[in-house]
Subunit: 334 residues, 4 copies
Amino acid sequence: MTLKIAIAGLGRIGQIHLENLLQLKEVQVVGATDPIQASLKFAESRGVKSYDSFDSLLDESGCEAVVICSPTDTHADYTIRAAEKGKHIFCEKPLDLSLDKVNEVIAVIERSQTKLMLGFNRRFDKEFMSVKEQVLNDAIGDLHIVRITSRDPKAPPASYIAHSGGIFLDMSIHDFDMARFIVGKEVVQVYAQGAVRIDPEIGAAGDLDTAVIQLTFSDQTIAVIDNSRQAVYGYDQRIEAFGSSGMIRAENRTTDRHELFTAKGVHSALPEYFFLERYAEAYKTELKSFVKHLKQGTAISPNAYDGLASLKIGLAAKRSIEEQRPVHLDEFNS
Amino acid sequence: MTLKIAIAGLGRIGQIHLENLLQLKEVQVVGATDPIQASLKFAESRGVKSYDSFDSLLDESGCEAVVICSPTDTHADYTIRAAEKGKHIFCEKPLDLSLDKVNEVIAVIERSQTKLMLGFNRRFDKEFMSVKEQVLNDAIGDLHIVRITSRDPKAPPASYIAHSGGIFLDMSIHDFDMARFIVGKEVVQVYAQGAVRIDPEIGAAGDLDTAVIQLTFSDQTIAVIDNSRQAVYGYDQRIEAFGSSGMIRAENRTTDRHELFTAKGVHSALPEYFFLERYAEAYKTELKSFVKHLKQGTAISPNAYDGLASLKIGLAAKRSIEEQRPVHLDEFNS
Amino acid sequence: MTLKIAIAGLGRIGQIHLENLLQLKEVQVVGATDPIQASLKFAESRGVKSYDSFDSLLDESGCEAVVICSPTDTHADYTIRAAEKGKHIFCEKPLDLSLDKVNEVIAVIERSQTKLMLGFNRRFDKEFMSVKEQVLNDAIGDLHIVRITSRDPKAPPASYIAHSGGIFLDMSIHDFDMARFIVGKEVVQVYAQGAVRIDPEIGAAGDLDTAVIQLTFSDQTIAVIDNSRQAVYGYDQRIEAFGSSGMIRAENRTTDRHELFTAKGVHSALPEYFFLERYAEAYKTELKSFVKHLKQGTAISPNAYDGLASLKIGLAAKRSIEEQRPVHLDEFNS
Amino acid sequence: MTLKIAIAGLGRIGQIHLENLLQLKEVQVVGATDPIQASLKFAESRGVKSYDSFDSLLDESGCEAVVICSPTDTHADYTIRAAEKGKHIFCEKPLDLSLDKVNEVIAVIERSQTKLMLGFNRRFDKEFMSVKEQVLNDAIGDLHIVRITSRDPKAPPASYIAHSGGIFLDMSIHDFDMARFIVGKEVVQVYAQGAVRIDPEIGAAGDLDTAVIQLTFSDQTIAVIDNSRQAVYGYDQRIEAFGSSGMIRAENRTTDRHELFTAKGVHSALPEYFFLERYAEAYKTELKSFVKHLKQGTAISPNAYDGLASLKIGLAAKRSIEEQRPVHLDEFNS
């Protein structure tokens, strides 16, 4: 039974999703749209029909589901339009940077009976899945402390920063989702600290490039996240979960596993450079999961509620910085 | 400029090669053949036209090159037929288990001006390429000692053993090629020892399941290879090169990089299970190299001469076991 | 030129210091005191003369310096008495749990022109010295984030907890000193979170057994410390320093470095069990440093000011917990 | 019950043994001898009485056991003299380089009812003890292949080489003993290969500086040893034991466990430099074992028979090189 999927947005991540969709058995990619002509050509070179608008894609391609990887400010709108037409949705994160908008999306999704997966790709990384699996298997008992290190290899240009929503909503939000994923509980309080240490232009744009955030969960588990926009040694993505009967950690994957011994010391390889390398497999696994659950009619995760939860944590982190105090998530519940 | 490639043999490794060919840019897969109907269907499901014989594949598909992954006893014959028709050849190892036959193939190849790549896939593994690269970069100076560990996770059935050519020609031959690849010199002497420790049926079939082989190179470098048909912890594929100014080693890749700490100790993941997992990337890189060199008209490696060299080492190892003495490769030069 | 040293207190750590003093060249151990008869016998079995009071030890042994490892509540008093008699002092941490008392000790030390080393032994651990050395060598550039993990293998009994000063002054204080040592700047703000996850009796005693503390330094560097009273896999003592041009981390030393590969996974050894094992070498290096600086007349470190600084951080951490807010260290400057 | 021990020979290793003896509980060091006046002064500075000859040491010190670390050519003679006077003996390896002499020593020992421990210190290294322990615990099943890497950081001067007995009796003999220790069986055949790659003067002295030796045990287990006189990255001492249900390996201990991540790669520490560092603990454990077994009257290991077995393997390795063939140990049984 083939699932018909369309794709909106063929930028860098859209092209990756398209290639991955084409590899999936029992999936037919029935159409693509992108305002940029060159991007559409990419789809055509893969034998995928192009549509000149998101609406025509939804109406004419015959798609049952749509993968949305257009610019962030279209996510909520596209999601709502797709849901209203009964299409299932895979949407890149974030749904939106405003709570109201995300709540509106959720209301539409609930009403439409469609399903939405949110692109928190790291949940599908095999290192982190291994941590999650062992937590579920009770390998380390009750969780007490979770440490997440998440550092990018290179800071984005200040022009990007300006529209990013800030470090907490742009970068740390992946880690907020990861902390929730690993702990399996809800966050009740956030305390954040930050600094501008990498690039003064980031500071000039009103943002931070270095941050440490403490999340307190409903069961008293504490998660500590440390973020930097620039780790010169590459993409640093590690998790450590400590509990009553042990500790599990996921180390970085490296470009290779050689060890060179000379009179100067032992030299080995750096972590894979950035998310396209580190999460190449995760992007595939993510779409496989989306397709599998649609076919089986089973619950999809992460979904819009996960997006909402992480957005609140991000907003709380911003407020914590502004007001220099720990912030309860209750402040964001209406 | 698209290269037209056909494929002969769609068993396990043939299907992998076909999938990988289909991913290559500027390659058109123009046909496939296999005596088994179900295998042909696999090709058709990928949009590849099927032919009912190797000759019709060569004559009618319009192929410029052919990938041969049919059973071992067809390799030499198919290679000769393809070369005589001016087709370039990628052939799975071994070309043949007889020196005369391999020499005959080489003569045809030389006469035909076609090019042949032999499927010593491990040369394209990124761990081993990293070792080779550093040796070439003089990171460890002159090579003195090379250690290769190559152990399979599970012994094949005795029925396979009977037609395999024996451990040296079936299994160790990859390591002989790897030793030559790393050292970049020719082997002059071989000493082998072996035992039956895993499965008495392997002994009953006249073969060994455990072996240690010492290769002496023309520059006095010594390579030591240890083989086992069964390492219960998975596919163990490691190299260590020791030289005048350092040592480099390539460790196994593991299924993931978690570390679990409990009261009982630290637990981490095993090596990737077998060659399909460990060398998945290498198979792709190998075909990319084949295509690249054909398009550029540059020299292909490893080639039939590499196959000949490793075959001689394998035959010398067999003789070393039989006669319990070190054997000079000169004994195999006519 | 031999240095004459006396020792007060022959409990577990006192016996270790005594053995280490006896190994030092050009040191003469001229006397020991301890209220417990059996402990004095230990000194005598090592050929060290015993004295029946701290005063007689100072007055009659002819010591130039004294090593104080008596119970915590005697530290300040003994230090003052020794300083007033012109003896140099090595004192186990903490000097005292009250700011006033520590300030009083400092005033006496300054007046007396004696020198005091405080027993923050971890500064002399070779793993952490290696981190410090590379930070000083500018191997990682400007420091941005420091992570310290410090977990004990087993929670102390509640009876100990009651007189310990609480987790921040008893346990985390080592980490506060380590953070200051690595960063080489002063802390300006402290935010702490904690929980009772290990043992309800610790909670009943008004203390925490799990804590995460964020320290902000004068140069904006953020240090995050995570503490647990019980890591079932052993004493977990790690540091990671992240900066503008790299990251350095010190992993745990393990009981041995074997790796066992079986069908179940890879198994390796746990960290050394507790501080007596992990810091056995550090205790020796610490006393060597004390003796070396006394002989050379050079500055001793860590000293009473370091003790004061860490005490303030500990008090700030307590207040942060009580008032659930970040606390500026200014609040503790009179 | 105190054991009275004397020591003969106070060179580098003798001084280490003396210091270690002085640390042992219930041991009294009753005398020392050495032809060099300065060395005797070392003993006196430790409160140990000096004697002007080996005989006076034996006759007048009242020793029950003697530790012999005088030059190699005195070992057999001193051992015989001590045994004839009923003293137990700890003797540095080798007993002698001639089979006849070693057999003579064994005959005297047997007649005298004294006990002899031979200084194969590596058996007491905690890494290798860990391997042995797991082999005994059947953690890896039946042994199939053992790999020993043993490389010195720096070649000795040619003057040393001339009197060393050659690489097999001077250096590899430790590895022969280690192989026997791990496997717990006897060697039946030896095949050795070697080269001069480090220093032509070593070749001029008739010796090799690079060697690979294969040992076949009575149960068909194959051990492969690779030796080099010069690994520029430090003392490389590793063992790997592979068996029917797993593999265990002991990696080098390093000077510390830091990991430095920069844009150039990951840098970590080298192995401990040489035997004095690597085996510092083992020398202590070795003497503790000697004393313990003497006190308990239990069997001492390694003993003179172990020395004899390894000497035969070394002689077989030499013959294997000379005659370029595998050599059966039977050739050395009279």
